[in-house]
Symmetry: C2
DNA sequence: GACATCCATAGTCGCAGGCTATAGCCGCAT
DNA sequence: ATGCGGCTATAGCCTGCGACTATGGATGTC
């Protein structure tokens, strides 16, 4: 007589999209699977949740009643996971910092030093997280503080401080026709093949394809889970990728050339944490990260 | 990355019992299944929830953190189910009254009449619920008001009013040696075979075996889901059952004789509802039920 | 009228989640 | 000391869930 929280998540997705097809693609499952699961949920509750015909899907009264409750349960479950990892890290006196791409910029040494004086006995752990998790491990509780490129998924769960603003550059295989130019105009990239972040990365994927500024979406020829993977693909001539000017420096390779792209807004690097996570140890780490990385300091609250 | 609410229920059971074996039997599953599920939950959360050795089971810090959260989620899920059935019954303008055994006592007519004047347009639905659900359908939301014999499961979820107090009698097959006596002393039933309610009925099962007053538990030879089933079993000579004096009258059969039992406290019939269910329509029905049934009125709040 | 879109159905496959039987550890009683 | 009882863990088995692909049928659009 009990649900799987996953099924509630499915339900919420359908309720939000009011389309099985769209919801399924958002959830990265096939549409028939989703239909089946929703039907099963309806059987469990002995209630019709959606009025569906061939053209439209609408919430019933029962569905409307379930929706806020389902959201609450999902949120409660995520809170429980965080609570547990808090307890665990508190027991270990450890703060975990997550990142998608190498950070460099002297962060590790700087934060470690600051921690040694302000939080004696505590340890710092750095963990690389796949791009397929756009929250850099914050949502699952694996990570307490993330160094992440904006945009973040824009619900109210996260707070951040922008700590650096860097141009978006493009990485090209050596010998690429565009490598001859000092600066590459965005138009020139229109027909080039690109390596993308995984679909689950959401907005971040679009941003690092430059789709926020292009007239037409980039042509995607492959997906990569990490910076290392994507640069490997660039090196082998599979396609191009965008990256921040700072990362262009950090990830220097013999088989790759990086060039500024004219016509793209810069990228913002931020220190991100869970808005409701108010542990003092965390504040120390956030502050230390910001001090180490800041060249253009500025505080932000969750995006709108 | 999501849980099944069932697994949280399993976790809570183990945390409360601090024993896999006892928790498993409380959950009506095999112990290895439970061990496996808990281990799987631990894998999902990447945390040890219990410190177990061959003699003892104890919550870890992480487990202690999860426990209240898990209870909350389970409770929220149950609330969601109730919410839905409220919406559905409100849409239908229907109140469902659940019962384990025939009620008789003029309830149906009385309540229907009262409803017609106080809640025009509303309908009353009576539904028999199997003994295997000791909450008479209240927990699942199938039922809004229950006419039930005490004791109810003693959490704080339910409120009730006792509406009748009746002696406990015993039902014997005609020709049984004890049928000759006008009153049967409890001692005489010590070695008799008994038909029991299902194990899931909990305390109610014990009560209707008379185990609350016996020096040694009754000998159970069979289980029955409903009164009809159990009296069928008595009629065929399989064993005996206890029943209230009122039900002895309602369920008269040619092949059965009912006799008062000396040495048993009386049984209490109550009108029960979900403590947090404050719909006005419900109050009308509760009140109508109480008025129809009451011979010894008295109000109670949840048991302690 | 052909096509695109969208939900439902059918059939397939792997694993989850239940079961029984049994092993292994420990404490207690004989 | 030895054996028994109580507990959890492991192994092996079976069923059904929850994914997938392919396809069907209804309904607007060009």
């Amino acid at each position: 007589m009990d649900v799987h929280v996953r099924d509630l998540r499915y339900f919420v997705a359908v309720a939000e999209e009011l389309s099985f097809t769209r919801a399924a693609s958002r959830l990265f499952i096939a549409q028939p699977s989703l239909s089946k699961q929703i039907r099963q949920l309806e059987t469990l509750l002995r209630v019709t949740l959606f009025d569906r015909d061939h053209r439209s899907v609408a919430l019933t009264a029962a569905g409307a009643a379930l929706l806020p409750q389902a959201r609450l349960i999902i949120q409660q479950w995520e809170a429980a996971q965080c609570e547990i990892s808090h307890v665990v890290t508190a027991g270990r006196m450890t703060v975990t910092v997550g990142f998608h791409t190498r950070i460099g910029r002297g962060l590790t040494a700087g934060v470690t030093a600051r921690m040694a004086t302000l939080l004696p006995g505590w340890k710092l752990l750095f963990r690389q997280v796949s791009w397929s998790d756009p929250t850099v491990g914050l949502a699952s509780g694996d990570v307490d503080v993330a160094i992440a490129w904006l945009p973040m998924p824009d619900n109210r769960e996260f707070s951040w401080r922008v700590v650096a603003t860097e141009e978006r550059w493009v990485a090209l295989p050596v010998g690429h026709r565009l490598a001859a130019q000092e600066v590459v105009p965005l138009d020139e990239l229109a027909d080039e093949p690109f390596i993308a972040l995984p679909r689950t990365a959401g907005q971040l994927r679009e941003f690092w394809l430059g789709n926020d500024q292009r007239p037409a979406p980039a042509r995607v020829v492959a997906e990569a889970e990490t910076a290392e993977e994507s640069l490997e693909a660039v090196g082998s001539g599979l396609g191009l990728v965008l990256l921040s000017s700072g990362n262009a420096e950090i990830y220097q390779r013999d088989d790759i050339v990086c060039r500024p792209v004219a016509g793209l807004t810069p990228s913002e690097l931020a220190v991100v944490w869970r808005a409701r996570d108010e542990r003092p140890a965390l504040r120390v780490v956030i502050d230390a990260c910001a001090r180490c990385l800041c060249d253009q300091p500025g505080a932000m609250t969750p995006a709108g």
